[in-house]
Structure formats: structure tokens, C-alpha cells
Amino acid sequence: MAQLRNGDNAHLFKVVHPLDDVERDQKKSPENLGRIRMTPSVRISLAILRGYLLIMIVLVIYRVFDLAGAFGHH
């Protein structure tokens, strides 16, 4: 999106579609950064996520044993 400024054209603007724009932003690239820094909040979040996934796995195993009749409900 560019602005044209010159005399009578002070209020003229050139609008360019993102796909046609040749002026590219310098995007924030993770290429040279490596892994995310393990701050306390990152560490705690990933620990909670692991715990959550563990609970889900236990539930799935429980369901498999239940369907196999291991708990004698059926």
C-alpha cells in the first residue's frame, strides 16, 4: 500500500494487493533462533501440557480395558 504525494496528487493513493506487492516486509524468522527460551512460564506450560496428555492417555487405556471387560461391568 503506497501513497502518492506530489502537488495535485496529494490525496491520491496507490493500493496494491498483498500478492502483487514487491516491497516485502522483513518477516520475523525463527531460522537462526533455535529453540524457544525455557522461561518459567514456558516450562510450567509444557509441564501442564504433559500432565494433561498423561491424563488423556490414562483415560484411553481405561476405556480399552473397560471394553475388554477387565473391570467386570459387562
Binding site: L4, N9, V15, H17, D20, D21, S29, I36, M56, L59
Partner: protein
Amino acid sequence: MTEINTSPAKGIVVRGRWLRNLLTYLMVFGPGLIVMEADNDAGAVSTYVQAGAQYGTTLLWLMLLLLPITYFVQEMVARLGIATGQGHAAMIFKRFGRWWGIFSLFDLLLVNFLTLVTEFAGISLAFSAMGVSPYESVPIAAGLLIAMVMTGSYCRWEWFTICLCLLDLIWFGLAWATQTNTGQVIRDTVIPQVPPGGVTPDLVFLVIGIVGTTIAPWQLFFQQSCVADKKLRFSDLKWARLDTFIGACFTVLVGGAMMLVGNLGFQHHINFTDPAQLAGALVPFLGQGGRIAILLLMCNAAILGATAISLASAWAWSEVMGWPHSLRRSVRQSPGFYAVYALCVCAAAGLVLIPNAPLQTIIIGVQVLAGVILPSAIIFLQLLLNDRELLGDEFVNKPWNNVINWTVIVVLFILSLILAAQVLAPELFPKTSS
């Protein structure tokens, strides 16, 4: 006429800021509307109509509550996509390592595939109600889905998909035709209430179903990749936010309209097992036109959902594999990307055509896997949006963003856990009334 910001790019010259803003918005517009409206897929039609049929208009307030939640989640995705120009799957791989990357990717691909099967089941169901055999409707739908992405033009795909989204405006006509009391609709939308009968397990799981249907894991991956494919610029962020907000409003309004159609079944005590059956039962009130409209809108919802879900899978897989992955490229230039898309579509369509396919097991699988992947995907999103090293001060979350997002994440964790526990260990819960 001299250009200060010299750009040999194509463009349109307009007079005045207002026209410039409008035109820029129209050029940026697309990913936000598509991701939101594609979420009103076959499963969503079924859930919203069921909510209306079971509880009338008393759950409309939930849609209003979900509006800011869905907007805030998707705004983060759009911001991350614009800032990095890369997809969500690639970002998880690069910042959280191979283990979390592979976990997220395979979980996504699996839940997407199973959801895709339910989309084709919806198409099969709706066309069967119109007397068309699934052996005709499903392959034709699969062919259309493949053809619509293989034009080698992002813009062609986007405009076609936006047209499909706008077809959902017909839901408003159907909602209007139900002649539901406007005052009642407004009151039930703005005043949260527990439906008559109190908080039952049925109600809890329907509410979870509505939340799960409004915020789906594939949406995070889809919108970020879509924004990256469209090459949105930093300066486009405010318009991408507006696009996302308008998309969120539209999808919530369409969801509300679906509830009002279901409410007609509630008012006339109509029992049904799927929206196609309800469409037939509503003929005395909406006419044959209404029946056909509901059935075709079911198909439209399934097609929209199927293209977005398949693209989310194809983008994610190709990003991680390092393959060319853009709708701007031809099939010859991005063979792997299009092959993944076509494979997802064909496999899901083929599975639906197998006699006695375990569709019920697949639906349960979708619920459980979505419960696993949604909270984890949102955690990664939240952590990435707090990654100051990557995003800098310009794009990183503000403190108020974090308060809202962590609240949303905690609620989603609890709801997902309850849903998964109910599906996997139903005997731990009180018996439902039905």
C-alpha cells in the same frame, strides 16, 4: 505524478483515505471470514440445530459469549502469520523441537482426517434425503473439492470459497421464516440463563459440543498458513483483525440462525436424529423450498469445512517437509502439497462409501482427539505469541491479551477434559435423562 514510495507493483490508484482503506480492506479480506465460516461445517449444523431443538432459544447467549473467545484466539493466529510469514506447524517444529512438532502434526492430521470423514458423511446424508445416491454425490463432491484448489491461483480459490461462505446468508432467511419472536431472541441472546430442567449431563455435553464446534484445532493451522500464503504485510494487520472480527460475527450469527431453525422443531415437538430428517419434518412450516435449502446448506457447510480442513493438513505437512506449499503454485510446481490435499479428500470420501463404515466410532474419535489437540495447540500459540525473542515488541502479546488468553485456555482445558472423560469413561458420570 511521482511516487515517493516507489513500487513497480501492480495496483489501483484511488482518491482519498477512505477509499484507500476500503480497497485495502477488500484486498486483505478473506482468510478471517473463510476460517470462521468453514467452522460452521456439517458437524456444526448438526450441533446447533440439535441445541435449538432440545433447548429452544435458551442457549443463544452462548453464541454471544463465544464471539470474543473465537475472535481473540484467531486474532493471535493472524498476528503470528503476518509477523512470521510461516505456518503454525512449521513454527512449532522450529521453536519447540521435533518431539512436539511431530506430536502436533500427526495429531492434527488424524483429527482432520476423521473430521473430513464426517463432512462426507454429511454430504452423503443430505443428498440421500434428496434422492441422490451417495455413490454419485460423494465422488462428485470430492472432485469439486479437488478442482477448486488446483487452479494455481490463490485468488480464484479465495473468491470461490468466499462465495460459498456467503451462501450461508440463506440461513438468515430460514431463521426469519421460522417467525420466532424477536424480543425473545434478543432477550435469550443477551441474558445468560440455564434452560428449564436445570444443569443436566445432556446440557453440559451439548454446551461443550457447541464450544468445541466453534473453536476447532484445524482453524489455528489453517488461518496462519492462509495468511502466510496470501503474503499479508505488517501494515495489513489491522485489516486482518477486522476480517477476523467480521468473520467471527458472521459465523456466530449463522450459528444462531441454525439454532432458530432447530427451535422450530422444539416448538412443534419434532423428534429427529439428524438435520436432514428435521428438514423433512419442517416442510409443513417452511415448505419444500425450506427443506431443499436446509439440505443444500448442509452440503455447502460440509464442502466449506472439507476444503479448509484438507488445506490445513496439506499446508501443515508440506511446511514441515519443506515442500513448496502454495495455492499460487500449479500442481506441477507443488506436487506434494496438492497430493496430500487430494489424498485426504479421496481417502475420506472412499471411507464413507464403504458399507457399514464405523462412522459412530469416527465421531467419538474426533471428539477425543479434538480434546487432545485443541488445548495443546492453543498452549503453543500462546507461548509463541509471548516469544519476544521471535516477535519483538511489535507483535508480542500485551498483558491484557495474556489475561484473556490464559482464561480461555484454562476453560478449554477443563471442557476438553470433561468431554474426553465423558466419551471414554461414561460410567463415571450420572446417567443422562434420555
